[in-house]
Each structure stands twice: as structure tokens, then as C-alpha cells.
Symmetry: C2
DNA sequence: GTTGCGAATTAGAATTATTCTAATTGGGTG
DNA sequence: CACCCAATTAGAATAATTCTAATTCGCAAC
């Protein structure tokens, strides 16, 4: 049994048609490279680095360059289709999960999505004075996750 | 009128004697470079980068090297006297505020400490399954702070 | 007081993720 | 078809940090 988000991902993933549509809806001109990069992020819901995305998309787009992968990822981040996740000084990781969530960074290098109940971000926001303009709140856990 | 933390900082700051003691208490051999670096972090409670620390300590220790500044900061972080703070891919910043707190990253580059009420970190911890071993929780706000 | 030791410091080279540059490509429009 | 301009590309440049290998330092043993 699958959650709503997963179903959505699967649907988008399997319709190249829809990928272009989603990009366009977010103001991103759907080039083939952008479609390939975005599609690869939707297909495997982990948190790959630019290099890992590069490796994955080469199969579908053998002539794509690493610079283009960076360009595509930047555009997707700028248009809120993808989130860039940073942990310590490790290479930036990319996340296509648009639901508000936190990240758990395992000591072995895995990065897991952690659901945040609706009120939690508001509660955190409440720690700041009213006259602060908050654009983003980031919650990162670090530790050891069970091996499973 | 000042808070307890500030008083403590001030006291430590003005007694080179005490700085060495604090280092030793935390298992750090108090070399003159480490004392100078740690002292500089206590004196100005902002969030300097390694380069900024380097610039500041040169006055007191004109022969110190940047490599040593990095070494000292690493040792202080390893022994929990200082926290390393990362935001996006900006140079790592260092924070001598040991009270649990969050960070607000201003769009103009300032970094502010945000107090966290006692229960908040526990509440966040509660979002994870019991069998996760959590070593650290990081909360970063991003946005615009009033100019004041 | 000198010597010996291991840790710390140092200068500079190396690393590496990312950004920049400048040339080329290519999809859509007239 | 030709034009346009954004996107793509290969490769060079950048910059924070780490590494390397040599030197210095503080301290204890003698
Ligand atoms: Mn880690
Ligand atoms: Mn910022
Ligand atoms: Zn995520
Ligand atoms: Zn801080």
C-alpha cells in the first residue's frame, strides 16, 4: 500500500508528457535535459548529489554535461520543484519531496526524509519576533539510524 | 543588565588563566594558539568564518597560520567547546554559544542566535522513531531580519 | 642545563565541489 | 529556410578546506 505522494511521483514519473507539463506550470522551459534531470529525481526518492544525478541521467541522455546538470538542478531549485539540502560541507544533495519535512543524516551517509506534523513549523516560526520575515525553516537531525 | 551566559563569557574572556582551565577541563591541551582562538570566539559573540578568526587572532598572535586556525577550530568543535554552523555552501561559521539554540541566517549574511525553549528539541526528537540514535538537532531559519 | 620525545604548528601544495567563460547548439517563430 | 536567443557544453577558474612534510615547542627525563 502506498501513500499519496508516492502515487503522485509514480504517475509523474511514468508520463514524460506530464513532466514537461509540471515544469511548464512552474515557469521552467521544458528542455529535454531538464525533463531528464527532474524525472531522475522523481524516480528514485533518495537525495543524490549533482554527480550522482549526472551518473544517473547519462544513460538516458549520454551527451549531457555536468555543467548542465548543475544548471538544471539550479533552475529546479529556483522554481521550487526541488529542494537543495546541505549537511556540513558535504556536496549538496537534491530532494524532489515537496511536502514540508526534515532530514535525518545518518553517520553512514544516508539521508532520510522525516515527516513534520502540520503545526511544527509554525511552532518554530513562533520562536522568532513577529517582525522577522521567514523564508525557510530547515530541521536536520544527525545520528545513527537502525541498519534495516 | 546581562544574562548569565554573557557574564560567564565575560569572565572567561578576561581571565587568560580561566581560558586555559576551560580548555584543559574539556580535554584540550591549552596551547597559546588554542587559547587565542578560543578567546577570540568568546570576545565577540558573532559567527565568524575561519578566515575572520584568522584576521582577528593575528593581532594577538602575529605568527599564527591559517592551517593552525583550522586545526584549533576543529579541536574546539571536536571537544564541544564550539559549534560549527553551516548554511548552504557558505564558509563554515563558528559559534561559542553552548546553550542549545537555533540560527537565523539573514539575507544580508548576518547570523543570529535564536533561543530555543527547553521542550522544543525534545519535541523534535519525538518525531523520530525510538530506535534512532540522535546525536544532534539543527534548526536553521532563513529570511530577512529587521535592519535595527 | 641539556637532550629527547611526541604533539602542535607551519607554509605551501593538493583537493574538490561548484561556478565561470566563451563558444556552440538547437527549438521555435516569422 | 533563416534568425534569434536561451540553453548547453567543455574546459578553465575559483575558493574553502585538507593534506603533506618539515619545523618548532613544551615538557619531562636524565
Ligand atoms: Mn554525517
Ligand atoms: Mn542567505
Ligand atoms: Zn528530502
Ligand atoms: Zn550560534
Amino acid at each position: 500500500m502506498q501513500g499519496l505522494i508516492d502515487l503522485m511521483a509514480e504517475t509523474s514519473t511514468q508520463n514524460p508528457e506530464r513532466i514537461a507539463e509540471v515544469l511548464a506550470d512552474h515557469g521552467v522551459r521544458p528542455t529535454s535535459q531538464r525533463e531528464t534531470v527532474y524525472s531522475s529525481l522523481l524516480q528514485k526518492r533518495d537525495h543524490p548529489t549533482a554527480d550522482e544525478v549526472f551518473a544517473r541521467v547519462r544513460e538516458k541522455a549520454p551527451t549531457i554535461s555536468l555543467a548542465t546538470v548543475y544548471n538544471c538542478l539550479d533552475v529546479l531549485v529556483q522554481h521550487n520543484l526541488v529542494k537543495a539540502v546541505n549537511f556540513e560541507r558535504a556536496p549538496t544533495q537534491y530532494c524532489a519531496n515537496l511536502a514540508p519535512h526534515a532530514h535525518f543524516h545518518d553517520e553512514e551517509g544516508r539521508t532520510l526524509d522525516i515527516d513534520m506534523p502540520a503545526g511544527m513549523f509554525e511552532q518554530l516560526r513562533g520562536l522568532l519576533p513577529q517582525n522577522f520575515d521567514v523564508k525557510d525553516i530547515e530541521v536536520n537531525f544527525h545520528g545513527r539510524a537502525p541498519k534495516s
